[in-house]
Symmetry: C2
Subunit: 333 residues, 2 copies
């Protein structure tokens, strides 16, 4: 499961908790903080949990940064993390910071829940459909952006994409990774979701398989459609099936939720995702079906690629500062 | 405070939570795991909390270790962590493991409490006494042990200690660091403790000052006695006041609790600490007094050094294996 669920000694309550930490993958420290926080919270959202009682921040400062770099980078990263936590209706009350060769950013999200607050990811039935709430391709977009500066890499993909498009795809990937899956979590209750997980390091097929294995019923997940950030499928093909994007093995960071929904509810789920004020026009797609099977998952041969267009630009720290002037701090011994 | 306390939406309950992670400081991976876990739990124990509902383990494997080294070291470290968690009446249900230049080990401890379960560290009054539940000197012992192999360092201290004594002091430090402060936490309730903290990176004087600053009353902490692992004070002096051990600034890892107790209760607290079956003959010492003052802390000139003798040898992983054969595992995505 994406989070651990611990029954408590108090009146039917459970502690649901998750942790995640990793290394920066985008250049903007503020966005990196937001992405790290969205990624931690996502494990709660995958269980249909919309509230978080507490967050801890886990950080390491790189020993290779000089004082000036630290002062520029770390407060922005912390601010991004805190801003995303605030957007999730929670706040960061503690954490730990160490010195390390590499920068680390992550956190711990905890919530105490009543039984109805969360949806155990185990009740998919044949006839359900699979919905995905963010497009795939973040790993390809982030790598393509790095390749702008590496001629031998860039030469492999330059026939299928312009530099400007790479920049736009990268911005789109950042925006998606920094978006909370909270709206999707709330709609899981409204539309009676049977199971869900979030898409991260194992790619869509890895997480679909994990989810299939946890089901009570004999089901199989079959994926027909792959919504992918525009042009990332072309890059993947041009690079010789880069990261296995079309096989669903490409890692995602802070990806969308993959949700098993009753067939008759799915279209309305997607419509409400798109119209939600909070989700900022976030789309969702019906990407497959649940059929009878042996708790496995597969992508059909030649799935339909849905090219998801680029939206706008990313919130930057400057704009965010205007909304929230409190200094970022994490201290706990 | 050592832990964060989050009021919950459910019937007067609070979520109390803490996280800590750091780098190995002893050579035995099993003991390192135990120490890391004891260190995380200690922040709960400092608030008089004796139960823990859940632990997460935070790990990084060093990229510099080859496969064989990883297979030898990491399972032992995880087993040590798990065994200590079990001793604390809890278990590890999740976590995160990454690759990093350096090994990292740590965790997150969480508990949902009723108001009576924890003691806010803010009610010291003039007339209280200060009790410490583990001897100081872990940093000196760990460093002296490393200096056995560094002639220019060893030459500075060899007149005051033998190699055998360094080895014994190191074992004693490991044993102390791996000991849970759980007995002390339980006795805090029995003997009506007014405030407490655990002694870690800022040394006894740093943590005493932090604790003093949090008090509601106008108090000052005055430390008269320093219980120190035998010979560590001599090493510190021989090395030119190494780490400021006698000034109380030497870092401790997984140190004891510093507790403000009513004067008439303190002797019985110390007696019960020593006789407790669980604490394994763990001692406690009255080290100072609480007087009227401006929320500060100091060590008197020429404090009395209590030389704390070495006890026995350390539990090793082999022995522990005989008691608990389950394989260590942490997985969560």
């Amino acid at each position: 499961m994406d989070s651990c669920v611990i029954p408590l000694r108090h009146g039917g309550l459970s502690l649901v908790q998750t942790t995640d930490f990793f290394y920066p993958l985008v250049e903007d420290p503020y966005m990196m903080g937001r992405i790290a926080c969205a990624n931690v919270l996502s494990d709660l959202y995958a269980m249909g949990i919309t509230e978080c009682d507490n967050m801890l921040m886990l950080l390491s400062v790189s020993q290779k940064m000089n004082e000036k770099e630290r002062e520029q980078v770390m407060p922005l990263m912390m601010k991004g993390f805190r801003d995303a936590a605030e957007e999730g209706g929670t706040s960061v009350t503690g954490g730990q910071t160490v010195i390390n060769p590499w920068i680390i950013v992550g956190g711990v999200a905890s919530v105490v829940c009543q039984p109805n607050d969360f949806i155990m990811p185990e009740n998919a039935v044949p006839g359900d459909v699979l919905v995905l709430t963010k497009p795939l391709g973040t790993q390809v977009a982030v790598n393509a952006h790095q390749w702008l500066d590496i001629p031998e890499k860039w030469n492999k993909i330059k026939l299928v994409i312009s530099k400007e498009e790479v920049e736009q795809a990268y911005q789109e990937a950042m925006l998606n990774m920094a978006t909370l899956n909270r709206t999707a979590a709330a709609l899981m209750h409204k539309f009676n979701a049977h199971a869900a997980t979030d898409i991260t390091g194992f790619g869509i097929i890895g997480h679909a398989r994990n989810l299939a294995q946890q089901q009570r019923n004999d089901v199989a997940f079959v994926i027909h459609n792959l919504p992918i950030i525009s042009k990332m499928a072309a890059i993947s093909k041009a690079g010789g099936n880069l990261f296995g994007l079309l096989q669903g093995t490409s890692s995602e960071t802070s990806g969308g939720l993959l949700i098993c929904l009753p067939r008759e509810q799915a279209a309305r789920f997607c419509a409400e995702m798109k119209s939600s004020r909070v989700g900022d026009g976030q789309q969702a797609w019906i990407i497959g079906i649940v059929e009878k099977g042996s708790r496995c998952a597969r992508i059909i041969d030649k799935p339909r690629i849905i090219e998801v267009p680029y939206r706008g630009s990313v919130v930057n720290a400057q704009e965010a500062s205007n909304n929230n002037a409190s200094p970022p701090q994490v201290q706990q011994t």
